[in-house]
């Protein structure tokens, strides 16, 4: 169950990363379809890293000499990670929800005091969450997996950003 929560949070993070890297790269006014495609790309990226993480987990489990304790240790680490990731996700989703209120000042304030700072601290939250999760773990396999997954999470936005940047460069070359 804990791992499922982590998976769902990873998908949410992927969606938001997809949206974020697409912003400022399309100057149309009506761009619902553009953002929808961007969100799908982010979601697919998160699916991909989740799959890689799952394969890594299964491989480690297959070859670990501590198979019996590993699942329990991983569950404990994942539970600790949720203590960091869930409040962060709630704060981000809460900021987005506030933007439903039709007040330009309130909506802008969510950018200034919510989404902007939350974007800035995302890598730190990732490191803190995984760090807190593996800090108390008993097995080196759990720690290695945690660090591997951290690398995957941090690389998601980097690769989505590169890909969106390449698409933007192509488009600008066509129009200028």
């Amino acid at each position: 169950m804990t791992l499922l929560w982590l998976y769902l949070l990873a998908l949410l993070d992927g969606l938001l990363c997809g949206g974020r890297v697409s912003m400022g790269r399309c100057a149309l006014i009506k761009k619902r379809a553009y953002y929808a495609r961007a969100l799908v790309r982010g979601w697919l990226g998160a699916q991909l890293i989740s799959t890689i993480a799952l394969v890594a987990l299964l491989l480690v489990n297959r070859f670990s000499p501590n198979q019996r304790d590993l699942v329990e240790d991983l569950e404990d680490a994942a539970e600790r990670m949720l203590w960091v990731f869930v409040p962060y996700a709630v704060a981000v989703v809460g900021s987005l929800a506030l933007r439903m209120i039709p007040s330009t000042d309130l909506r802008s304030a969510t950018s200034v005091f919510g989404l902007g700072p939350f974007t800035a601290i995302r890598p730190l939250v990732m490191v803190a969450g995984v760090g807190y999760g593996i800090w108390g773990s008993q097995l080196v396999e759990t720690r290695a997996l945690g660090l591997f997954i951290l690398g995957l999470m941090l690389s998601l936005e980097f690769f989505l950003n590169r890909s969106a940047g390449a698409r933007q460069r192509r488009e600008i070359r066509e129009v200028v």
């Binding site: 933007q168 129009v175 200028v176």
Partner: protein, 295 residues
């Protein structure tokens, strides 16, 4: 980027000259950004500079979207238009965006408001042809009822009942600002609305933070912070406007959030013909509290 003031033709720019200007100010960030610009035989590569400008303006539009600039412009423009209509003006109202860049304001108004169907003509002007081409491309792509022209918005070849701009005023200082405002004194012009950064203690830091987070090009990051630092105070803007365009009552709109001491990122220099003031107040309704002293 430089243009011939008469023909508006692009003038080649030597990279070294630009570097020298920033070296005088000791602006190392700007020097780094300029050094990274592509050049050909010592001259800045025009095509690459145009591409960079377009890219930068796409990013700037994102900030406009995030801070709901379109609805903010519409809120005040709507009240001004209705005030003009109530005063008996029947014909087509021409709204001119001065220094429109890729035309976000006009395109947003054309796409999201009924103005174009109410006899309001939306036109943007810019001295940069690459940005105007992009504005026209974007408006055609979405079939928007607005147009963009390369040239001087205040040229006598065009007329404008309402002039507006976003992030333009801070580019002018002293006599240049006065001359810019003087140019609104045309018989047909009824009002002007100039949106620009509002200077206050934390504005440069906030601007730095947001441009660092949201902008991807070094030039955009640098210019955004500089713009906030160069922004004119409400006192300077109203004083200059009252002096340079005495045919209008001038004041500041929307300086504070919900009438608290908290400042908005942008404030608006509003100028309006005196007979329209009372109508404008009525049209603003409960938002009239956002209107500063008009005189």
């Amino acid at each position: 980027m430089q243009h011939d003031p008469y023909t508006l033709a692009r003038v080649p720019v030597r990279k070294w000259d630009v570097l020298e200007v920033f070296a005088k100010f000791g602006n190392r960030k700007a020097i780094r950004a300029v050094k990274a610009l592509p050049e050909r035989d010592g001259l800045l590569d025009e095509k690459e500079i145009d591409r960079l400008l377009v890219r930068t303006h796409w990013e700037m539009q994102r900030l406009g979207e995030e801070f709901y600039h379109g609805p903010r412009v519409y809120e005040l423009l709507r009240a001004v238009i209705d005030a003009i209509r109530r005063s008996g003006f029947k014909g087509e109202l021409k709204v001119v965006d001065v220094g429109c860049g890729i035309g976000y304001d006009m395109r947003w108004l054309a796409a999201r408001t009924p103005l174009a169907n109410e006899g309001v003509e939306l036109t943007g002007f810019d001295l940069n042809s690459a940005l105007i081409n992009e504005a026209n491309r974007l408006s055609k792509a979405e079939r928007l009822p607005c147009q963009f022209q390369h040239g001087d918005a205040f040229s006598l070849d065009h007329s404008g009942h309402i002039f507006l701009s976003t992030g333009v005023l801070h580019h002018f200082r002293g006599q240049e600002l006065r001359e810019f405002l003087e140019r609104h004194e045309r018989p047909e012009t009824q009002a002007f609305l100039h949106f620009d950064f509002q200077p206050w203690l934390l504005a440069p830091y906030g601007s730095w933070f947001f441009h660092f987070l949201r902008m991807r090009t070094a030039v955009a990051r640098h210019d955004g912070v500089l713009s906030a630092a160069r922004a004119h105070s409400a006192g300077t803007l109203t004083e200059e406007a009252r002096h340079a365009a005495p045919g209008f009552a001038s004041g500041i709109y929307g300086a504070k959030i919900w009438n608290t001491p908290a400042p908005r990122v942008f404030h608006t220099l509003l100028g309006i013909r005196r007979p329209l003031i009372e109508e404008l107040r009525k049209e603003l309704g409960r938002r009239v509290g956002r209107l500063g002293e008009l005189r």
